[in-house]
């Protein structure tokens, strides 16, 4: 706890010059375990990033993919089978060498549905996934299947393995930087529960002390890490402070070195901590979801009318730290076009005309908002007022819990519009278009389906040349914008505060990172 007992304003230069330590606040409940394969929440992944090294990562300077644990990642001609060769000489923190078998066995464990690990879904693209995840009747407990391994996963030698996918997928190499694919060493694989609180990673940091329930997580640099580059910090403490405003106050008191700015402080953080803040474009898209099942919204012209009636600049100002959306993908993605959307510039006359051409709208338009979000109602009313004034629609509002809204939408019972958002798992515009717009996509909240779009996506997935693949995905974006199942609203920046002794890494490709901070 070197950094937390600073009595100066912002723990300035620190006491000893030898040890570089930082305290990072995480506004969440304390973790219960560290296992990247069974973790998809951001607090858990954030800690795992320090303790586990991925196969590949995005270079923060160039945005290009670079190898970490992998020596090479090579697709075959069709992008359906991928061969991954590991660098020699890497080990786990228990000293065991890191081999292809560790990856293959860890991934098989995760792919087994009855283990109920959270990153199970990642492997649904791999050949043989269905055999490990047979459909379970409602109310039954999934049983371990007779088949224990993915047929698409093959170990070739000690350092090489191959992954055969169900269908060609040109972006698969990019997905390998996801930390949910980290390897577990054999002793952990034998009994994962016994290692819940003493994870054995292959990354730059290891646990510095015993970690008990409810404790902060203290990490120390692991000397055995041979990957590069290596973060500067010698010690990192992750402090869990569930209330985000309290975490912010802890920063102001000089007790933590890095904190996310909570939504309640978006207007005040620059004066609260002058010269100690950074922002980054957030990788995410925020939008309004049109219910595809409601015939009143069927006409694309009506959707365009709604889109044209929204003053995105004013709305982004209301949200704070935001920019009006100009397309369906986040602005930091390769393949982003700032003129993608033809219906996103505010034009009330055009909006009215489109509404007329669409034959008007019958009945009041309902806007659903999440009551657990502090800003849900305000945002709903802002959109509602724009639609009322610019289109002359009658508008009403319904507040519900987020999970209830999702459930109603899933069963086609939700009335009207709702807010939603999506952020990518790997930096490719494909990771916006596939989940959001492919028929039955993971985040296809509008339950939209257009065979033409699915076909273009499949073509992009099968295109080995990255430039050409992007062109195809852009075609998919164009189709989605014409049909407009989602109305783009804004992209939001994230803001962070940092103490004077560290300078967080800010990258236009991978955002802000305290783990990779520079020490002054």
């Amino acid at each position: 706890m070197l950094a937390s007992c600073g009595d100066g304003k912002s723990s300035g230069s620190g006491s000893g010059s030898g040890s570089k330590s930082e305290v990072i606040a995480i506004a969440a409940d304390p973790l219960e375990y560290i296992n990247p394969l069974n973790e998809n929440g951001s607090p858990g992944i954030q800690v795992a990033m320090a303790m586990f090294a991925p196969l590949v990562t995005t270079d923060p300077e160039t945005g290009k993919l670079q190898n970490v644990m992998a020596d090479s990642v090579t697709p075959d001609k069709t992008s359906q089978t991928w061969t991954i060769k590991l660098k020699a000489g890497n080990t786990f923190q228990n000293g065991q060498p890191l081999t292809a078998k560790d990856y293959v066995d860890s991934w098989n464990m995760t792919a087994m549905g009855s283990n109920a690990w959270k990153n199970n879904g990642f492997f649904s693209k791999v050949d043989g996934y269905d055999a490990l995840n047979p459909p379970t009747p409602d109310g039954a407990t999934p049983k371990p299947t007779a088949v224990k391994t993915l047929s698409g996963l093959k170990q070739i030698d000690d350092l090489t393995f191959s992954v055969k996918l169900k269908v060609p997928f040109s972006q698969f190499g990019l997905t390998l930087q996801y930390l949910g694919l980290a390897p577990l060493p054999e002793e952990v694989r034998k009994n994962p529960d016994a290692y819940k609180r003493k994870p054995i990673g292959n990354g730059p940091f290891k646990l510095a002390a015993d970690w008990n329930a409810g404790d902060d997580i203290k990490l120390a640099k692991w000397d055995g890490y041979k990957g590069s580059p290596v973060p500067q910090a010698d010690e990192i403490t992750y402090r869990f402070i569930p209330n985000a405003d309290t975490a912010y106050n802890e920063f102001l008191a000089g007790n933590v070195d890095f904190v996310d700015v909570p939504s309640t402080k978006v207007k005040s953080f620059k004066t609260d901590a002058p010269d100690q803040w950074v922002t980054s474009i957030s990788s995410g898209a925020n939008y309004l979801v049109i219910p595809a099942w409601d015939p009143r919204f069927k006409n694309p012209k009506l959707r365009h009318a709604i889109s044209e009636a929204i003053d995105r600049k004013a709305f982004a100002d209301l949200v704070g730290l935001s920019e009006p959306a100009k397309g369906l993908v986040a602005p930091d993605m390769a393949g982003y076009r700032d003129n993608a959307c033809k219906y996103c510039d505010f034009d009330a006359t055009k909006a009215k005309q489109l509404l007329q051409e669409a034959g008007g709208f019958s009945g009041p338009l309902n806007i659903n908002y999440n009551t657990t979000s502090a800003t849900g109602q305000i945002f709903a009313e802002a959109i509602g007022n724009m639609l009322r004034q610019n289109l002359g629609l009658q508008v009403k509002y319904t507040g519900k819990q987020g999970s209830e809204i999702t459930e109603l939408a899933d069963s086609h019972k939700l009335d009207g519009l709702r807010f939603s958002g999506w952020g990518h798992d790997y930096p490719s515009i494909e990771d916006y278009l596939t989940p959001m717009f492919k028929s039955n996509g993971d985040a296809n909240f509008a339950q939209y389906s257009n065979p033409a779009l699915d076909a273009v996506l499949a073509k992009g997935d099968a295109e080995p040349d990255p430039e050409k693949a992007i062109k195809l995905y852009q075609q998919a974006e164009d189709i989605a914008l014409e049909d407009m199942p989602l109305i783009p609203l804004y992209t939001k920046s994230n803001a962070y505060l940092h103490s004077a002794k560290i300078e967080p890494r800010v990258s236009k490709y991978v955002g802000v990172s305290a783990l990779w901070a520079t020490f002054k």
């Binding site: 409940d29 690990w117 959270k118 879904g121 109310g139 008191a253 987020g402 459930e407 985040a443």
Partner: protein
């Protein structure tokens, strides 16, 4: 006395069943799927959902879920939360935190309440009495949330007298600030009640008789007035102690004290019926115990209501 306690304990059983069933029904009726709440925006594969559902009995009908939860509670097999925490471990860690906070806060509240209440009662319409009325009105108007954050900012961030949050500095340092805020916010009601009660008692016939007998002022105060004036106050303290648990939800969240209140908040957020019922049962048992204690205290203070 033993019979009285036994009778109370027996009466508590059906009430306990009603309370836990009611609480469980409320959590059950909350809209939304608990596992979806846990997952956030990310989709979960069907097989994973089914496995989790079976693990937490979420696929059973309401009454079966309730009975299974009660069975777990009564046999001491608390299991794990949705997030994977061992519930027995959590209780071991969290009960002391909430106890320390509650007891310290009550100590502050009672000390201030009794002192100002007695003083104002005897010096009626003096400046203490008048300012107490004013202070009461002001304190009752301040929302707890605002007071907690304001105190945290002023004494933690700006003046650095106390830690901002967390329990790293242990007892009592980590607990003083929240306990003081709770105590100060709560003492006024107690003081006003005691003051009024004393004023009423001072004018009662038996006090006049005591004075007429020529008893000293001190004896009249401590032996004749206070025991009688304290009766309603004891009731108030009993209810207040029981209500502390509810207040802990906000305080523990703002001051990041990992106690039962925070646990309750998480459980409600994630719709974990089992945990909510477990914590409600704990709260209920302590409520029954406190009330039993209060009833016995009555007997000590006032022989007329002694339960033999």
């Amino acid at each position: 006395m033993i019979r009285f306690i036994l009778r109370r304990a027996l009466a508590a059983v059906p009430i306990g069943v009603l309370v836990t069933l009611g609480v469980f029904a409320l959590v059950f009726a909350m809209p939304g799927d608990p596992l979806r709440e846990l997952a956030g925006d990310k989709p979960i594969p069907a097989a994973v959902l089914a496995a989790k559902r079976a693990q937490y009995h979420l696929d059973d009908p309401f009454i079966v879920q309730y009975l299974l939860s009660m069975k777990d509670i009564l046999t001491g097999h608390f299991g794990t939360t949705f997030a994977g925490a061992d519930i027995a471990d959590q209780l071991r860690l969290r009960i002391p935190v909430t106890l320390k906070l509650t007891l310290l806060a009550n100590a502050v509240q009672w000390t201030l309440g009794l002192f100002f209440g007695i003083y104002a009662g005897f010096k009626r319409n003096g400046w203490v009495d008048r300012s107490l009325l004013l202070v009461t009105l002001v304190l009752l108007a301040v929302p707890g949330l605002v007071a907690y954050f304001a105190a945290q900012y002023l004494f933690g961030v700006e003046l650095k007298w106390f830690p901002v949050s967390g329990v790293l500095e242990g007892f009592p340092r980590s607990y003083v600030l929240p306990a003081l805020v709770i105590g100060v916010l709560g003492f006024a009601g107690l003081a006003r009640l005691l003051r009024t009660s004393i004023v009423e008692t001072v004018n009662a016939d038996f006090v006049k008789t005591a004075r007429a007998k020529g008893l000293g002022e001190q004896r009249v105060l401590w032996r004749h007035i206070l025991p009688n004036a304290l009766l309603p106050v004891v009731t108030f303290i009993g209810l207040d102690l029981a209500g502390m648990f509810g207040g802990a939800i906000i305080t523990e969240s703002i001051f990041n004290l990992p106690g039962l209140g925070q646990f309750m908040f998480q459980a409600i957020k994630l719709k974990e019926g089992g945990v909510v019922v477990l914590l409600s049962t704990l709260a209920f048992i302590s409520f029954i115990l406190i009330n039993l204690l209060i009833d016995l205290l009555y007997g000590v203070l006032d022989p007329r209501v002694r339960n033999v």
